[in-house]
């Protein structure tokens, strides 16, 4: 057991640090429009890619660096020390990329992966539907074969970044007469295709990071199918296993932020951190934060040995989303009535605590609800039996529905 870098790792870290120091662009403006953020993110991603620092663990020929898992971790650790944009590529590089790498043809991988790595093309994930969230395999978007094409009709929802994405991965129902998991087929789709309509969803935070995506007679060539016809569930599982890694680490205030706030704000004329009740909460969050950090290191050690990331990674999301919600709420408790102010001239810490309070409820749902993730850990890690399912073995078109 060694928490220090080996000489080779230390050398790699030094190389990373040197490059970042010389190349991270200076930024003087905090607020920016989405278009400005995308421009800034694309420019940073391209700069990294051109120097061999994009998607480090991907193979070189697909735009990566063929780096070891531990080198990827070192890069992430060092890059995260800087204020550089990353979020808009997370779904593509974290989930769509691995799915394409597993199921696309060699030609398609050559065509789509390098621009995905360089940030020239942004990808989104078209999975959830109004009637298929936790029960994803109950999705209804229809795919019908028409010559060498498929014709898609239906609606997807909660699609992050659909409005600025170039491509998406899509799971559809190609056969409603068989049990639900058996009738699915998986594609990738050009988001500029005729018949795709994208409508933003306004969240409780007021922001619109998600969309509804409507498909009306959208044509997808059969060559853009990933996996066999009817095998879409298995392909989806590849994506979802990577989703929990991609979503696992949420932004927003963490222990260091609430610790700093407690040092800087007063209760009863002394720093809040001197209050025993405050110390108790801080200690709990410190232990959770570090427990997650070292659990991640253990997962990375398993990766180094060539094992695939397991559902253990779900732990991170279960713990960190709730922690984020609690820290956001507690930060505002420390500010008392002033904590409700979201006027940027007077709010503390750029409003990160209020942002967490309003953002965390979504995080506890996105990428698998807390409850679904617990089921996954129960069944895949602890080996507990599945719940009894009323729709097991029933043809999809005979399953009772809400309406």
């Amino acid at each position: 057991m060694d928490f220090n870098d080996t000489p080779a790792e230390a050398e790699f870290r030094a190389e990373v640090r040197t490059w970042l120091k010389a190349n991270v662009p200076h930024r003087d403006k905090a607020a920016e429009s989405e278009a400005e953020l995308i421009r800034r993110a694309k420019s940073w991603q391209a700069k990294k890619a051109d120097a061999g620092w994009a998607c480090l663990h991907w193979q070189k020929e697909y735009g990566g660096r063929s780096a070891s898992p531990i080198e990827s971790v070192i890069w992430q650790q060092e890059e995260s020390k800087y204020d550089v944009p990353a979020g808009i590529f997370a779904i593509g590089q974290g989930m769509c990329g691995p799915t394409m790498a597993t199921y696309a043809t060699e030609e398609q991988k050559q065509r789509y992966l390098p621009p995905m790595a360089r940030g020239d093309e942004i990808w989104c994930q078209l999975f959830s539907e109004p009637a298929a969230g936790s029960d994803l395999a109950g999705l209804r978007t229809k795919a019908e074969k028409d010559g060498d094409d498929w014709i898609i009709n239906g609606q997807k929802i909660w699609t992050s970044g659909a409005h600025y994405s170039d491509y998406g991965i899509l799971v559809t129902r190609s056969d409603p007469t068989v049990p639900k998991h058996q009738g699915l087929t998986f594609f990738f789709v050009d988001m500029k295709s005729p018949g795709i309509e994208i409508k933003p969803i306004k969240q409780i935070s007021g922001a619109s990071n998600f969309n509804e995506v409507y498909f009306t007679d959208v044509r997808i060539p059969d060559a853009h199918r990933l996996g066999e016809v009817g095998d879409g569930w298995r392909v989806s599982i590849t994506t979802l296993m990577n989703e929990r890694l991609a979503v696992g680490s949420a932004g927003g205030p963490d222990f260091a932020d609430i610790f700093r706030l407690a040092q800087n704000i007063e209760i009863n004329d002394q720093p809040a951190i001197k209050d025993r009740a405050v110390r108790d909460r801080l200690a709990t969050w410190y232990c959770e934060t570090n427990g997650l950090k070292f659990t991640k290191f253990r997962t990375q050690s398993a990766l180094s040995r060539g094992e695939t990331p397991g559902p253990e990674a779900s732990i991170a999301k279960i713990v960190s989303a709730k922690k984020l919600q609690d820290i956001g709420s507690f930060g505002m408790d420390l500010m008392e009535l002033g904590g409700i102010m979201m006027d940027e001239n007077v709010m503390l810490e750029d409003g990160m605590f209020q942002g967490a309070f309003l953002g965390a409820p979504g995080l506890r749902i996105a990428g698998g609800t807390d409850e679904i993730l617990r089921n996954i850990i129960a069944e895949r890690v602890l080996g507990l039996p599945q719940d009894i399912r009323a729709d097991k073995g029933v043809s999809f078109n005979e399953i009772p529905t809400s309406r």
Binding site: M1, N290, F294, L384, I388
Partner: protein, 369 residues
């Protein structure tokens, strides 16, 4: 970077687990629970023969000098099996106190006995149902003689030597006391966890040999508790895992409403919460083990972190294991209460969680200053 135990350390774990499954099963633990013996003498002899007591004691003091990572591996297995032996008192408390503050002579005098199991040691700090502090410790030391009452003292009824905290003119200090001295009385005391022996010890003008500098006792105790916290945290994680395994096993085989109760989400989610708490604690323990083994300056923070999360995990896991078992979990006959009892003992034996949380934040404040 490598956050795993080595192959050799995992082999040691397998060996420890199979030894304990054989010699220290829950049936053996129940014999101590229901009988009069203070500890399982046969299991204790076996551990000594395997060299466990000398694991982290340097060879020059009669140990086998493997290291703390190996001791952590053994601690986790001892916690899993609920081993009713004086191992922790002798090895995590007494030996650590000598290693931390002892002179060369003291190390040479006391450590070989601990390593070979010829002697049992312990640490006597507490004086009744309250948190000890340098001010409220009533035991007195003057002219090398100690007087006072210590309770509960872990394994105080079977130990040969104790490191005793007492106040002298210079402040709180530590003394090595030979418990076989005529001036000492040691009586077993009834506790929440009868599988681990505790005693009330009376000292009356008892000779004590100063350990470390006079007046430096509280500071030394802090260092000893940091090391012991990591080792006990591994015991706690081992116990939490055992309670989780037990609850899981029961949920898979107990039927209600025509199906195993493990198919109900209310039970599944409970087991997952036990698992998550245990995994976070385990990861923090790895950090603690690393800090202990490398003598890192981060040890005070790492020790508090792993102790707090291991305490939480064991509490969660042992109480919910009873809940999963329903009414049977509440009976003397079922083993659930053994883990529940041990969990409480280990959550307070080095001071309670509120105090450790407070210490953790103080250490973080110092580190950020």
């Amino acid at each position: 970077m490598n956050f795993e135990f080595s192959e050799e350390q995992n082999m040691l774990r397998d060996q420890a687990r199979s030894f304990l499954a054989d010699k220290c099963s829950l049936r053996n633990v129940r014999e101590i629970l229901d009988g009069d013996a203070p500890f399982d003498a046969e299991a204790w002899r076996g551990m000594i023969e395997l060299g466990w007591t000398g694991t982290a004691i340097p060879e020059e003091y009669g140990g086998i000098g493997m290291g703390y990572l190996e001791l952590c591996v053994i601690a986790e297995e001892l916690g899993r099996s609920l081993a009713p032996t004086p191992f922790s008192s002798s090895v995590y408390l007494f030996a650590e106190a000598i290693l931390t503050a002892g002179s060369e002579e003291q190390k040479k005098q006391y450590l070989p006995g601990i390593a070979t199991g010829a002697t049992i040691g312990t640490l006597a700090v507490f004086e009744g149902p309250h948190a000890p502090s340098p001010k409220n410790i009533k035991a007195k030391a003057a002219n090398g003689l100690l007087s006072g009452e210590k309770m509960p003292v872990p394994d105080g009824d079977v130990a040969d030597f104790a490191v005793v905290a007492a106040n002298s003119d210079a402040g709180l200090s530590l003394y090595i006391v030979d418990l076989s001295d005529d001036s000492v009385t040691a009586q077993s005391i009834k506790t929440l966890d009868p599988t681990r022996s505790h005693a009330k010890i009376n000292l009356s003008e008892t000779p004590g040999e100063l350990l470390g500098n006079e007046g430096d006792g509280w500071n030394i105790l802090g260092q000893v508790f940091n090391a012991a916290a990591v080792l006990f945290a591994f015991e706690q994680v081992g116990g939490a895992q055992a309670a989780l395994d037990m609850g899981k096993e029961y949920a898979m085989t107990r039927f209600a409403f025509g199906r195993p109760i493990a198919t109900f989400q209310a039970i599944k989610h409970k087991l997952v919460d036990m698992y998550v708490a245990t995994e976070l604690a385990r990861s923090n323990c790895y950090y603690g083990a690393w800090a202990l083994d490398t003598h890192s300056t981060e040890l005070p923070i790492a020790a508090a972190t792993c102790r707090i999360s291991a305490t939480d995990a064991y509490h969660e896991s042992s109480k919910e294991n009873i809940q999963i078992h329903g009414g049977m979990g509440f009976t003397w006959e079922f083993d659930c209460h053994l883990f529940y009892r041990r969990s409480k003992l280990l959550s307070v034996n080095l001071g309670g969680e509120p105090r450790w949380k407070d210490m953790l934040i103080s250490r973080l404040e110092q580190a950020s200053a």
